[in-house]
Each structure stands twice: as structure tokens, then as C-alpha cells.
């Protein structure tokens, strides 16, 4: 089976989905599930044909392990999120188009990960950008879609510059070859490195470009937010990967100034990653909207992934790549659960929710496991990856970046707990008395993703084997696993054992608990109120200003979005100036300008 067959099959299927959606959009939504499942299976089969070259029309592809890895992550996220699609069809203004774009963006990402030349990469990249832009606008906000596009466009246009520059220098568009022409041209390499990486940075939401994430994630259709956060953001990581593997940033800058063995340009990007960890964490803690909170957490986790991948060594790289998967899954799960809550209650504002656990225990459990992974607590997937990254950082002695990583890691406890407490725990408002648990169809993705999180957490070998393959492909030292134990230079980790011992501890606690007298069930409102009678559950629910003291500490104005707005206003001002100067309805003004131009040109020409 060739890749082209796969691609064309998928394209055909998405067109079929579109046509079906035109007739019956709910059926079309089910088609998105089927199509993404087919994609998953086909991709899985493609694992055997890694190394295959393929080309059609303008596009050339090469099947690589890393591409396969990335696209598997993507498809898993798309597949699981697709289960929600049928429930949101009624709320979409263009359901058929949504289904089509959903699948086309999936195809776009796959095509991009397997791209062999820059043009293919860029075309598929832009496809994803545009399709997702059109999907986001179907959500709550047009402005977010606009910001998303503009930030993406900044990234992709600058990257196009880099690509064409490399093409000019090397004469070839093939990614793996083209960068070789830059050896011995440090200045050019520097320009290409920063410009090429920019698309990745903007997509993964690294510090100055992170503004789009909360807006887009927060207001995209609930079904698409998991894809955005779990999937599309990870495209940026792929660009980062290219910049260290094909571009070979470490060799290109080997003669440049180094910090703890890291060339300065890479270090700068890593510092940006570290800043986004801090900014993402601080902002996530401050949010009231659960989706925005998770979006900012994606910013922070994007920082981890970027740092891990950029370190490009045995340890942190494996950590970054693993974090990609574990965060993709955890974040998709979290977004799905929030989507379900929003579906049942109609809001994602944490201050308006509460006590959902009594109505949706399964959703709660799934969310709990997702956030345990997201916060990097064993025995879930997120811990293994964070452990690898932290060990890697300790190995290199990158103190400041590690400090940011610690901050993000501890801070994540704060922000993941917030929705847990405000949405699921606490008092149940009377208006939510009739809320129902997620339907079976919605539960399926939650189960799948939860099992995946647990599996990665307990048996990381499954993923680390593939990562070792990628490391071999990239020519760096592979991560070593002895049995279930990850063995690295400065530590060992046996997650299975951690899991078992945790189970052991849990069992002991459970036995003690059961041995003691059974507790009497009281209502939620029967709670200590300093003997005051309170009858309004909402008043007893602590959910707004959750981290008030911390928010007080960090309430400094937040400048970055303002920066974009300022630029936008400046552009409008200049535009206004140009219009009023040159587009006057009075002919005399134009005549005046003709004379001025004539005069300037004449003088210029004579001198």
C-alpha cells in the first residue's frame, strides 16, 4: 500500500462525508468517526512501509518514523474527539463544512508530517491553518479565529521566507538535503534557524505567540478544542524537530557561543520555551473559563515539549517526544470532559458550575486521570515524560530552564485542581439538579484516552520504543529500557513498580478504611458553616477568585496581546493617513501630488 493511495482514500472519504453531511449532518458526523478510524488503521498499516518515497503532482512524501509517530498522535486525537461531533451538529452553523474541514485538517496534518519537500510541507501546513480557522469561527468568537489566523500567518509567512531562502542557497527543496547547503554560512544559518522555527513557535504557542491559544481554544466549538490543543498545537513540535534534525542546529551552531554546551541560538529558543512555561502557568491559574485555563496549560506544556525536543539528546528529547503524546492525550481528554460538561450544562465558566461529580462521576474520574497526567504525577503518562525532561535538564545543568520547568510543574497542580474543585467538586447548584451523565457515545473516547494515559504511565515502553526508533533515525543516542525500567545516566525509573506500590499503599488504606465503622451519608449542604444557616448552595461554593492571593501577586498588566493590538492600531493609523493623504476627492490634491512626484523624481534623476 502506498502513501498516495492512503491519501487519496482519505480525501475521497472526506468528500463522501461532506456529501453525506449535506443530506444528514448527524450521519455525516458519524462518518467523521469512521473516516478517522480508517485513517488510524491505514496509518498503522503504513508502519511497515517506513522509508517509502511517494509523489503526486506537486507533492512529494517520505515515510519516516517521526512522521508516523506525529501523525499517529494526531489521528488518535482526531479519532477520539470525533465521537463528540454528532452531538454538536445542531449547534454548528455549517455542519457539513465542519465535517469536511475536520477531516481535511486531519489529512493536512498527515501530509505535513510526511512531507519530503518544503512546498509540500508548507501547502499542507497552510491547509491545516485555513481549515482550522474556518472551524474556529463556528464557535463562540470571530475575533479569536482572526487572531489565530494572524498569528499563524506570521509564523507561516516567515517560515516561507526561510524555506525559499534555503531553496535559493541550496537549489533543492528536499528537506533532508536542502539544509546541508547552509554549512559554513553561520549568519545565513542563524537567519534560517530563527525564521524557519517561527511557524513552529507560533503554532505551539511559545511566548510572544501564545495569545491565540486561549482565545482559539476557549471559543472554538467544544468538539474542536481537543483537536486544537491535543493535536494541531503539536505541529509546531514537528517544525522544532526538523530544525534540530534535518537542519542539524547543533552542528550548524557548533562554533557559536555556547551556554552549558547548548549553542546560544538554541538556548534563546529554549528560554522562550521556559518563559512560556511560566506565563502559561501563571495565566492558567488566573482563568475562570475552564477551556481557557486548559489552553494556557497547553502553552505551558508546549514549552516543555519544545525544550525537550530542542535538547536533542538521549534523555530530554525522549522526554519531549513522550510529553507530546502524554500531553496530547491528557489535554484532549480534559477538553473532551469539559466539552461534555458544557454540553450538559451550557457553560464552561467555572464560577457557574460545581458539584458535577454527583451527576457525572465517570466524566469526573476521566478528568481526574487526565489532570493527574497533565500535572505529571505518577503513575500516569505525564509523569514519565516530565521525569525524562527534568532528568535531562539536570544532566545538562540548565538551571534557569529547570527553574521554569519546576515552576510549571508545581504550578500545574494549582491550575489543574481548579476545574476539578470548581466544576466537579463543591456544591451542586439547584439548576444543575437534572444534569445527566455523558451518554455512552461520549464515554467511548473518554475510556479510550484514559486507558491510553494509564498505559503510557505504567508501560511507557510502548511509546519509548518508537521514540528510540526516531532517535536512531535522527542519529542520536537511543533511550535505554531494561525490562520495564528506564535507565538513564542519572537515574532509573520503573513505572510499573511505582504503580504496584501505589496500589499496595492504596490497598492498605482501603483495608483500614473498610475495617472502621461505616460513615453516615449527609447532604452536601450539611456542612460546617460556623453554625450559620445557609440554604443557597451557590453561596457555599468556592469557585471564583480561587487563587485570590496568588492573583493579587500577579495582577500586573499583561502586555503581549496589547502589543498585537498596538501594531494593528498603528497599521490602521498609517492606512488612514495614506487614505487621507492620497485618496482625496479633490483633484487639486492629486495634481499637487503629481507635481511633487515629478519634482522629486526630477531632482532625484538629475542629481
Amino acid at each position: 500500500m502506498t502513501f498516495i493511495t492512503v491519501l487519496i482514500t482519505l480525501l475521497a472519504l472526506s468528500v463522501v462525508t461532506y456529501l453525506v453531511s449535506l443530506i444528514n449532518n448527524k450521519l455525516g458526523a458519524y462518518f467523521t468517526i469512521v473516516t478517522s478510524l480508517v485513517t488510524l488503521l491505514l496509518l498503522f498499516l503504513l508502519k511497515n512501509s517506513i522509508g517509502q518515497l511517494a509523489s503526486i503532482s506537486l507533492f512529494t512524501f517520505k515515510l519516516t518514523t517521526v512522521g508516523w509517530y506525529f501523525s499517529m498522535v494526531m489521528v488518535v486525537v482526531y479519532f477520539t474527539s470525533a465521537f463528540l461531533n454528532p452531538f454538536w451538529m445542531k449547534k454548528m452553523i455549517y455542519p457539513a463544512a465542519y465535517n469536511l474541514f475536520y477531516l481535511v485538517s486531519l489529512i493536512g496534518t498527515i501530509g505535513m508530517f510526511f512531507a519530503r519537500d518544503f512546498i509540500t510541507l508548507f501547502i499542507f501546513w497552510e491547509t491545516v491553518v485555513w481549515t482550522s480557522t474556518f472551524i474556529i469561527q463556528m464557535g463562540k468568537s470571530r475575533k479569536s479565529s482572526y487572531v489565530y489566523y494572524v498569528v499563524s500567518a506570521i509564523g507561516s509567512m516567515v517560515t516561507l521566507f526561510a524555506m525559499m531562502l534555503v531553496y535559493q542557497v541550496s537549489g533543492t527543496l528536499e528537506i533532508s538535503v536542502a539544509f546541508n547547503a547552509l554549512t559554513g554560512q553561520p549568519v545565513l544559518a542563524l537567519i534560517v534557524f530563527f525564521t524557519f522555527l517561527l511557524a513552529g513557535l507560533s503554532k505551539i504557542g511559545i511566548f510572544p505567540f501564545h495569545v491565540w491559544l486561549p482565545m482559539a481554544h476557549g471559543s472554538a466549538p467544544h468538539t474542536f478544542s481537543p483537536v486544537l490543543s491535543g493535536g494541531l498545537v503539536k505541529m509546531g513540535a514537528f517544525i522544532a524537530y526538523i530544525s534540530v534534525s534535518a537542519f542539524a542546529a547543533y552542528e550548524a551552531f557548533s562554533s557559536s557561543f555556547t551556554i552549558m554546551g547548548i549553542p546560544a541560538p538554541i538556548y534563546i529558543i529554549m528560554v522562550l520555551g521556559a518563559i512560556s512555561i511560566v506565563v502559561g502557568t501563571v495565566m492558567a491559574i488566573r482563568q475562570d473559563d475552564a477551556k481557557k485555563l486548559l489552553a494556557y496549560s497547553s502553552v505551558a506544556n508546549g514549552g516543555y515539549i519544545l525544550i525537550g525536543i530542542l535538547l536533542f539528546d538521549q534523555l530530554a528529547f525522549a522526554g519531549g517526544m513522550l510529553h507530546l503524546v502524554s500531553h496530547a492525550i491528557a489535554s484532549a481528554t480534559a477538553f473532551i470532559t469539559i466539552a461534555i460538561v458544557a454540553h450538559r450544562t451550557g457553560t464552561t465558566k467555572m464560577s457557574k458550575l460545581g458539584g458535577m461529580i454527583h451527576k457525572m462521576p465517570i466524566t469526573y474520574t476521566v478528568y481526574l486521570i487526565a489532570i493527574i497526567s497533565m500535572a505529571g504525577i505518577p503513575p500516569m503518562g505525564g509523569f514519565v515524560s516530565k521525569w525524562l525532561i527534568l532528568q535531562g535538564l539536570a544532566d545538562h545543568g540548565l538551571l534557569f530552564i529547570a527553574a521554569a520547568a519546576f515552576f510549571g510543574s508545581i504550578g500545574s497542580f494549582m491550575y489543574v485542581f481548579r476545574p476539578l474543585s470548581a466544576v466537579f467538586l463543591g456544591q451542586l447548584a439547584p439548576k444543575h439538579e437534572n444534569v445527566k451523565e455523558a451518554s455512552i457515545m461520549m464515554q467511548i473516547p473518554m475510556y479510550l484516552l484514559t486507558i491510553a494515559t494509564l498505559l503510557i504511565g505504567v508501560f511507557p515502553k510502548i511509546i519509548l520504543k518508537v521514540i528510540a526508533g526516531i532517535q536512531a533515525e535522527a542519529g542520536i543516542q537511543e533511550i535505554v529500557m531494561v525490562g520495564n525500567t528506564i535507565v538513564v545516566a542519572n537515574g532509573v525509573l520503573d513505572t510499573f513498580r511505582v504503580f504496584v506500590v501505589f496500589g499496595y499503599g492504596f490497598l492498605i488504606a482501603l483495608v483500614i478504611f473498610i475495617l472502621r465503622r461505616k460513615s453516615r451519608r449527609v447532604t452536601l449542604m450539611d456542612t460546617y458553616t460556623s453554625a450559620e444557616f445557609v440554604h443557597t448552595p451557590e453561596l457555599l461554593h468556592y469557585s471564583s477568585n480561587f487563587y485570590a492571593p496568588f492573583e493579587r501577586l500577579t495582577k500586573k498588566p499583561y502586555p503581549v496581546l496589547n502589543l498585537y493590538e498596538k501594531v494593528s492600531i498603528k497599521i490602521k493609523e498609517i492606512g488612514h493617513m495614506a487614505e487621507s493623504l492620497f485618496s482625496s476627492p479633490k483633484p487639486a490634491v492629486t495634481i499637487f501630488w503629481i507635481i511633487i512626484v515629478f519634482a522629486i523624481f526630477f531632482l532625484g534623476g538629475v542629481l
Partner: protein, 306 residues
Amino acid sequence: MTVMNFVYGFIILLAAFIFQTTITGFNRKVTARIQKRYGPRWYQQFLDIFKALRKSSITHGWIFDFGVIMALGGIMATVIFIPVAGFEAFPNMDNVYIISYLLAIGMLGMAMSAAGSGNPWASIGVSRALTNMLAYDIPLMIVIFTLIFAFDTASVSEIAAMQQGMGILGWNAIRMPLGGIVAFIALFGMLGKKPFDSFIAPAEIASGPMVEYGGKHLGFMFILHELMTFIEVSLILNLFFGGGSSILVYAIKYAILYTLVNIISQVMPRYKIDQAVKFFYRVPLVFAIIQGLVVIFLGWGVSVWF
């Protein structure tokens, strides 16, 4: 992983509980003496715990129970991984990150259960506790990071072993004095001792996360608190004060360290939570970073001290 591992684990668990509870009882007496009181019996803490376990209890739903069990389970698992004077129930599992993150699952369980009670005081307490954690953990983790970089291992027992044989001069707290100060201050935060105890402030937020616990849940919380104290003091002891070459030495050092913390904390007022954050980011964080830079760039305190 044999049955013996689990038996050893249980022994550590039991020993840790009995030891720490005794020390706590002893320290209640120390506290009383500081306040010119006679103080309770040395075994008062046991009585309190068993009394609590004996009483009837209420529950606010399954999460209220489940959280407590998960908390105790997580903490017990962490205790099992703690190396005591070179003795480990599960060899090679004493990675400092495992310990510090597994500790978090216990805290998460407790926080979950507390918030599940539906009492706003509990949520406020949890929010303060988490903020407090963000404050003390960053400087501490930076110092630990420095240790891992310096010794090229993240194993607590190995780091402890490397400090032994040189007497007091071998301790990391002496070799890396700023780091030692940071760790010592962070221990106050970890233990929730004054001045960093605003998250359980009884008179203000009705003991915070513990507000709704009574009966066996409260007993669980007390056991959890003892075990958590054991983990935290052991961690600092192993990493910065040389651990112990034998169980006896370990126990003595442990008692001294904990009592010292207790004595100091008894004469302290209480920080507001944002003051605590400010404090930790102003002094210990700077110390930690300076210590890190000194170790990473100058190499002082890594192989020898003098």
C-alpha cells in the same frame, strides 16, 4: 519484586508511623515547655489518632471517602520508597522526583476529598496549600536539581551515601551552605509549620482542608500527616544532612532536625499566603539560584568542600 519487598515496605510504614508519632508527641511536650506548660503525655498523639478512628463519621459522597483513601495510599506508597539509613524496601526506586511527585498524589487525594465536602473553607485551605507549595517547592527543587547535577544521580540513598564518611563537613548543608539554608526553610513550608501554616489556620478558616473531617476520616488525616512529615523530614535529612549510616544515627538526626524545626516555628507568627510566596521568591529562591550557579559554574562543594 518479591513478597519480601512488600513485607519490608510494610515494616517501614509501620516503623515510620510509630516513630514519627512518638516524635510528634515528644514535640508537643517541647512546645508546651516553650510555652511554660507541662504538656500532654508523650503518647498523646497515639491516643488522639485512635480516638479519631474510633468515632463515628459522616461522608459527603464517594469522593469524600475515595480522596482520603487515595491520599493515604499515595503517601504510604511514598513512605515505602523512602530510603532509611541505606535500607530500601524497593531498591532503586528512591528517585527524588518519584518521591516528590508521588507525594503530590497524596496531596491531590486530600485536596479532592476536602473540596468534595462542599465546604468553602476546605477549598480555600486547599487553594492556600497549593499556593504555599508553589512557593516553597521552586527554591527547594532548584537546590535538589543542583544536587542531581553535582552528583550525577537522582537517587536519594546515593546522594545520602555520598555525604557520609566525612563527618559533619560532608553534609550537603555544609558543602552547599546556601542550599542547606533553602532546604531548611523549605522544610517549614513542607511541614506546614509556622510561619507557613496559613492553609490550616484554625481560627481563620476553621482548619482549612480538615474542616469537614471527623471520626475515621480525621484519623486518616492524622496518620497521613505523620507519614507526610516522615517523608519530608527524611527527604531533607537524606539530601542535605547526610542521612544516617545506621538506623540509630538516622533516628537521632531525624529527631534533632524535626525538633529544631518545631522549636523555631513555635516562636514564629504566621505569614499571609501571598507574603509567604513573596518571602520564598525573595530570599530562598535567590539563595537557591546563587547556590546553583556556584555549583554549576564554579564546581564548589561538589567533590570536596575545603
